[in-house]
């Protein structure tokens, strides 16, 4: 593999496998993410989303497969590999007895930043995350949403090229979630590559350049959201049959209407969403 190939993808994963005892959590996962893309990794509980991120960030071992970030292999040079990314884990991992600022300073020092650099970056990020007045506050006293934003600020502190976000919007109210989406778009605008797992399909639909559906440790689809939706149709009809809502998909509105006219039960006509594509591929609902 030559250097030029390496550069064309920021994240490169080939045939990744991971077992926990006899349980196969990842069963040959492969994907590539290009620089500046937002890649969204969707899947039901236990699909292996967090496991993928943990392996990519060096928190968990893999059984086999190849992993590269920015052309750098985790085995050849783990320290250089790790400078490439920032991580927002699924579970908040802040020092709750320390202040917002102290948490950030420790992070900056871990990444070899100078005191002045750290301080300037803290100013910038706290303002961006609307935590400007919380600098000296103990983390314990922050709300859930504020802690999430602090985690993002911390992950961005050292200017990573890649940001791993493991369900960043979990537990946030709708308004805060929307503002977080703005933040993520801005991170992309600044040139970073974003790897995002989420349970909120509309989040992936709004943010992602590309979406992968993960199901029981395998990627069952990997494409642009529009293409995934187009694959099943443009219009959907939901109809109540045998106490269950069934969805049917059509290319045109006219086709849909014609079909609906032949039905007895009540129906709703709507546009196909990413959720339809997800259901069609995995046969499961994302909680």
């Amino acid at each position: 593999m030559n250097r030029a190939d390496d550069k064309s993808s920021m994240i490169e994963v080939q045939n990744l496998r991971k077992r926990f005892g006899s349980y196969t959590a990842l069963d040959g996962v492969s994907f590539q993410v290009k620089p500046g893309e937002i890649y969204s990794y969707l899947g039901p509980n236990g699909a292996g989303k967090t496991t993928t991120i943990r392996i990519l960030t060096g928190l968990a071992r893999r059984d086999s497969g190849k992993v590269r970030l920015n052309g750098c292999s985790i085995d050849d040079n783990p320290l250089e590999y790790k400078t490439n990314f920032g991580l927002v884990p699924q579970h908040t991992n802040l020092d709750v007895d320390l202040s917002v600022e102290e948490n950030l300073v420790i992070h900056g020092r871990l990444y070899g930043m100078s005191g002045r650099e750290i301080s300037a970056r803290i100013d910038e990020l706290l303002k961006e995350m609307e935590l400007g007045n919380k600098r000296k506050i103990t983390v314990k006293k922050l709300s859930g949403g504020q802690k999430r934003r602090l985690l993002i600020a911390r992950a961005l502190l050292h200017h990573p090229k890649i940001l791993f976000l493991d369900e960043p919007s979990v537990g946030l109210d709708p308004a805060i979630r929307r503002s977080l989406w703005g933040v993520i778009k801005k991170i992309k605008g600044d040139g970073a590559t974003v790897f995002l797992t989420t349970h909120y399909i509309e989040e992936a639909e709004f943010l992602a350049d590309r979406v992968a559906f993960l199901d029981a440790g395998r990627i069952v689809a990997d494409a642009r959201p529009a293409d995934l939706m187009a694959e099943i149709g443009t219009w959907a009809i939901d109809i109540l049959q045998l106490n269950r809502i069934q969805s049917f998909y059509f290319r045109t509105r006219q086709e849909a209407n014609q079909w609906a006219a032949s039905q007895e039960s009540e129906f709703t006509l709507r546009r196909v969403s990413l959720e339809d594509a997800f259901l069609a591929k995995t046969g499961k609902k994302v909680e």
Partner: protein, 245 residues
Amino acid sequence: MIRGWSAVYFREMLILRRRLFRLISAWSVSPLLYLIAFGYAMGKGISIQGHTYIEFLIPGLAAMSSMTQSFAIGSEINIARFYWHIFEEFQAAPISNTAYVLGEVLAGMTRALLAGCVILVLGALFDVVLSYGPSFWLAFLLNSLIFSSLAVGLAMLIKSHADQAMVTSFVITPMAFLGGTFFPIEHLPHWAQIILCWLPLTHAANAIRASSFNEAPQFSNYLILVSLGILAFVFAVMTVNRARD
């Protein structure tokens, strides 16, 4: 390859500072009780190796706290790892295993050093001031190097916080009582002395006590402490990768 150790150490110091008052109180309680019960009340009129019992006891307590307080860094690491998941922040950061271990071990040693000072101050309150020169502190620090390193290593290997408590009750507490803290090991049967000679605390207590009494400490004690310190540190570095799932 040890860039980043200061960040790990810095974090532990911030936490230590936040709790310093509580810790100093905690560090004072049991030594104070030992001093009152064994040194003052029971030890009156007893003399060991030409010293009053309380003079004998204070270097022993210093040796003991250099062990227990540096070993306590293991609990801190475990709480950070299993409860707060902060260890993941270090695992994901571009620092080597050696840097991580060095930061934590130095934090454990710092903690022990502060606890040791508390003992010496308590001793002074009982009117006992011995000689605390370089050979005293060298043995003290080597002993805490050994036990901080062991604590870091065990913290990486164990799977839950409860395991840590087990190690403390089955290894550390017995050693604290038998390793020459409260009585000279020469009072024990020969076979027991041979076993105790394998324990680092015995050598640390010997060296620390000899220094406190202005006697020439045995070179072999230091040699053993240095060797064990290096071994324990290497062991700790080798365990860090094991903490990944």
